[in-house]
């Protein structure tokens, strides 16, 4: 294969002092003599109080398999090529016709969900007899042979940075997780894919790659965790240059932790679960937990303006980032200090955050960290209806006492949550469940077709958590809310990670779906929820969808002035000749409805190519011009040519 045990061990030892290093390295590549000079270069100022990590190259073996890393270069070793997540984990109907979640990775793994079958049948009109299975194996013949820029490849080889033009590797990096992308893969259809995948190992590798790309006019598309849902990773079909996917997954080290200032410096390819796990080992966390955190990367978060579930305590990515290093065709952009706030003109971080890979590659990030919370407690509240629930969330936001996470699911999602309840182990639990249901619906008079649930997560010092909890439950009570226990809350959060696997099950049975999000002022939350759901239902009807779709929503984040709302939408596509087209039309209409109702184009998924058409209206002509001029300056030859955003 490709990974040569080569030079780049040398010049690239540290993250700091990089720009000078970059130009030196150019000379190294051209002249053997300079290698020695490179050897002599040592990091200038390594802060003695921090844990330093080196930019080590892969060992000299050509094998590229993982070395204890969560994400190996060959993602296909552990992940599905045409669905969500780990290969060993999926929903299926076992021989008894019961839904089962396979694998060992999750709490729900290995469990049986007896109610799921009925829920699927009732909600979508599906039938287990009618399957729509995916193409099991990717046939290489379906993938176009790579268009290689020979000169680029030659020079790349000389750098020793591993790369591949294997079909599987390329297909893996040609998509995110939009419905149309996965649907096409399941049908074995592959469109334009990158011609080459390259795995830089550190910042300087990236500098090198970008230089070469500029030199040879090659299109670069940065790739982090591959969890994009905005068509952000799709290769522009009109791109005629050779496309190189720059996979940051091997740049996944924590370079240092600074306990005095509570910051940490990481390579941008680290995925969320590794970041948390490794920090936890030192007693810290970032608290940044997007739903995709198992797979999404730090660089991806920065590039898309990500938001985490516990942002109420820790903040969103823009609140967490102290310093970013991004490699652009014009060179490296970075700030010169670690000050907590600056008044130095417009914040250049805001050109980087949300740039969606159009300006460069984020290579390193300094981020705030917090000591791990002493105590965590889940909770849940049942409300008689969604309106009351929203009113409660609004009040919580007004009093600024939101727990680490507070999410309000509508009735449809509440029912869906029930469908995912694993088989109860004892008579006693099932009896208790029955009793609870009886209490809520009969004694308290909640209509099971209206009630909805809020899930809560509290974090912090034990006493404060308990105090906080009481405050929130008191507010909930004012809006008719009844505490519904820790289990319900915990299960709600656990489902977050599991739910993504469920779409693959649906797709096995003619059900396609997607989630999408927005943010909206408080006074419009109810209106937007109602109108978007009804719009989805109406559009499906108009477009010949036989069975009424699932249209459901939840408020997932609260802010002072508004909330983030998540919509789920899925339908049974039997009888439709072009289901993806129908799906996209409905999704488009839903976004129009969101915008008409005062919602934003995106709260945290980003724009990508999927929502590009609304961008100008979202930021005005002048705003668009500003962004364009930045792009024109930073990347005049459109090396970062994924064509997102603008």
């Amino acid at each position: 294969m490709d990974a040569l045990p080569s030079l780049h061990k040398h010049g690239s030892s540290m993250a700091s002092n990089s720009s000078g290093g970059g130009s030196d390295r150019q000379r190294i590549a051209q002249q053997r003599l300079r290698i020695i000079a490179g050897h002599l270069r040592r990091p200038v100022d390594v802060d003695s109080t921090i844990l330093a990590a080196e930019c080590k190259a892969q060992d000299s073996k050509t094998d590229v398999s993982s070395e204890g890393k969560t994400v190996p270069r060959r993602r296909q070793e552990i992940m599905k090529w045409n669905g969500w997540g780990y290969s060993d984990t999926k929903f299926l109907f076992n021989k008894k016709g019961q839904a089962e979640f396979t694998g060992k990775r999750y709490k729900l793994s290995g469990m049986i969900m007896p109610a799921l079958k009925d829920w699927l049948e009732d909600t979508f009109g599906t039938n287990l007899q009618h399957k729509s299975p995916a193409t099991p194996i990717l046939t290489s013949s379906a993938v176009q042979p790579p268009t290689l820029n020979e000169a680029f490849v030659e020079e790349l080889k000389s750098t020793g940075i591993p790369f591949s033009h294997d079909a599987e590797d390329r297909v893996f990096r040609a998509h995110g997780h939009c419905l149309h992308e996965i649907f096409a893969l399941r049908e074995g259809k592959v469109g334009r894919v990158p011609d080459l995948v390259v795995w830089p190992n550190c910042h300087n590798d990236v500098v090198r790659i970008v230089e070469l790309a500029c030199k040879h006019n090659v299109c670069l598309i940065p790739y982090g965790g591959g969890t994009s849902v905005s068509s952000g990773l799709e290769c522009p079909p009109e791109e005629t240059r050779s496309i190189v996917s720059l996979d940051t997954s091997q740049m996944s080290r924590i370079l240092w932790i600074d306990e005095k200032n509570l910051t940490a410096h990481m390579e941008a390819g680290i995925v969320g679960q590794d970041l948390e796990r490794l920090l936890n080992e030192s007693g810290y966390c970032t608290g940044h937990e997007p739903d995709s955190m198992e797979f999404s990367s730090l660089g991806g978060w920065v590039a898309t303006r990500a938001s985490g579930m516990k942002k109420n305590i820790y903040g969103n990515i823009e609140d967490l980032v102290i310093r970013v290093k991004m490699v652009t065709p014009q060179g490296v952009i970075e700030k010169s200090c670690l000050g907590p706030r600056m008044s130095t003109g417009p914040d250049i971080h805001h050109f980087i955050m949300g740039s969606e890979g159009t300006l460069g590659v984020v290579t390193e990030v300094t981020m705030k960290i917090r000591p791990m919370p002493e105590y965590q407690k889940y909770g849940s509240v049942v409300f008689p209806n969604f309106e009351q629930g929203v009113a409660c969330l609004r009040e919580v936001a007004k009093q600024r006492c939101a727990p680490a996470s507070i999410r309000l699911m509508d009735n449809e999602q509440f029912k869906f949550g029930h469908a995912l309840k694993p088989q109860v182990s004892s008579m006693f639990t099932s009896f208790l469940d029955g009793l609870k249901t009886f209490y809520i619906t009969k004694f308290k008079g909640f209509d099971p077709n209206c009630l909805c649930v809020a899930t809560l997560l509290f974090e912090g010092h034990r006493e404060k958590v308990l105090q906080h909890e009481k405050q929130v439950y008191d507010i909930a009570a004012q809006f008719g809310g009844l505490a519904a226990g820790e289990d319900n809350g915990q299960r709600g959060y656990m489902l977050t990670f599991v739910i993504a696997y469920l779409r693959d099950l649906g797709m096995d049975y003619y059900v396609i779906g997607e989630s999408f999000e927005t943010s909206v002022p408080w006074d419009r939350v109810l209106d937007i929820c109602r109108n978007v759901k009804l719009r989805i239902i109406q559009e499906c009807k108009d477009k010949g969808v036989q069975f009424q779709p699932l249209a459901s929503c939840r408020a997932t984040q609260t802010y002072d002035s508004g909330a983030c709302v998540y919509f789920y939408f899925a339908f049974n596509y039997r009888g439709l000749s072009d289901p993806v087209h129908v799906f996209e039309e409905v999704e488009h209409a839903a976004r129009e409805e969101i915008l008409a109702n005062g919602g934003s184009l995106s709260h945290h998924h980003g724009v990508g190519k999927l929502r590009k058409e609304w961008m100008r209206e979202a930021v005005s002509n002048v705003g668009m011009g500003m962004l364009k001029s930045v792009k024109d300056y930073v990347d005049p030859n459109n090396i970062f040519g994924n064509r997102n955003l603008l």
Partner: protein, 654 residues
Amino acid sequence: HYNQRDPMLKKRDDFEDVLEERRNSSDLRYALRCYTPVLYKGVPPCKSSMLKSMVLQSDQLHYVISQVSKETGRKTDEVQEEASAILDEMAHCQQLSTVRFFAFTLSKVFKSLFRSICVNEEGIQRLQQAIQEHPVVLLPSHRSYMDFLLMSYLLYTYDLTLPVIAAGMDFMGMKFVGEMLRMSGAFFIRRSFGGDKLYWAVFSEYVKTMLKNGFAPVEFFLEGTRSRTSKSLTPKLGLLNIAMDPFLKGEVFDVSVVPVSISYERILEETLYARELLGIPKPKESTSGLFKARKVLSEDYGSIHVYFGQPVSVRSLAEGRVNRRQFNLVPRHIPGKPGEDIHSFVNDSAYKLVRAQEENMVLKPWVLLASLLLQNQAAGPKEGLPLDELTAQAVWLRDLSRQYGAFLHWPDQMTPSEVVSSSLSLHRGLVRICEGKVQLAVEQGLAATPEEKLLNQAVIVLSCASYRNQALHVFLRPALLASAIHTASSTQKQEVFNSFSFLRNMFSNEFILCPGATVQDFEEASYLLVKTGAVQVSQQEVVVTEGGHRTLAFLIAMLDPFLQGYQVVCRFLCEEATETLTEKQFIPAVRKFIIKHLLAGGLRYAEVLSSDLQKNSLAAFLRLGAVQKIKGYVGFDHLECLVGPPSRAQNTTL
């Protein structure tokens, strides 16, 4: 290009007579029967006290109250109280018992007045469906006081949610009746409240609260008032604006608007309207007056047809027309003047809806007879039209009107002469048959002065004209084209179009002509005339065919009274109104002028005496800039005569 469906193929529902059952079963049992209407999202009707407090506590009203208080220096409490008083004056307090009372009484009244009340039941089913899905606005046509009682009666009969109805304050003059109407679901709005912010806020919030929550269908009259002429009136936009607002601001997913066409074979207020139009003052609505009107109870008013049209989704009307995002940047409780785009959207929608009302208006044979008799009368001092000739003409006109898409109820099981004589007998107050000849019942020799005689004549003519007017919408566009062909200086298509466009523009205060739809109307008119073989239209020319002259003559004659009317008003303005004139003086002065000319024999159409026409023409001249309004006065700078090449006339705007 004009590619609308052939109007003849327009599919319409069948009718059922609701009185039939009333004649066969107990009215009392009917009035007391179990009433369980389907509800919007299962929302039960809201108690009026609850509704009032919702309105008073709304953010919208709070905002305006504090604004008014700031502006006037009055205390908020005081303004709040005023708002509350306005609401008390306005609010309905619908009670089922009153509705039952009306159901009982009206059954009796209707049975004695009308032969039948026919309703399209499919329309009722559609309405029932619509009520469950979205808030509903009912838009009946308005030709009679009877309209809204009739509407509520029908909704009760079909077990539908009773509407709340916007009614003019004039009813409140009738103490007892006003309260009764209030208890049956009417709410009262002042006729004018120009700059009264508070009033507007209370009023719009009241309507929106009912609509948003879907408590009950909201009913109002797009035309604003009863049409005295049976022509549809230019729609008023205020309430429609309010009704569309919750959708535009995203407070509801959609609003269904249901146009309802109520057609009376004989209008109760027939001659009353004629007198009013002639300036014989309108008796103020009073309870005692209503009882005096009892004599109407003994007469035969034929049948009523009520057609519940296809519900129109405001959402689909707005699709691609309105950018709803514009409402996202200002808190929704702050009142704002709708922008130009919203105004034009509401205006276009209003025209569409009035046209939908017109299209489903049932026309009786008498409407055609009235048209023919009026034309005959205007043609000269003849002894009337021989009955068999009238019948033959009526059959010809029946076929023509059907080809033009009229919703004509011509009893095909009867012979044409039977149809004609039964129509004539129902309207014997307006026609006379003398020695086999039919003519209008214009009285001879009874009146003291020639002027009185003329006015008496005019009452009959205007009454007849009001029936002819029911069919105007069917013939309007072809008639405009026919007149355009007639007046154009050549057969060049462009010339004809210019002439058409001028006439259409001129008459857009008179008839329902959607703004900006000139080309569409021209194409529609050409299509109809070509289809019936009356004209041939080539790329360049519009030529009348040999057989087309009869149709064209009829059509031209249809429009002629209006054309003459506008001309005479024009002449008045040129000849008499040399100095400025107040608006109040205008009608009496122009009337005097017209009477003079009618008596002198220079003018043939007594219907030009209609104040409706005079007002409309003045409005048109104002719009066209031929006349100017100065500080409440109407100032006439200069006016060129309208006869002559249209293009020149259009350029005379000052």
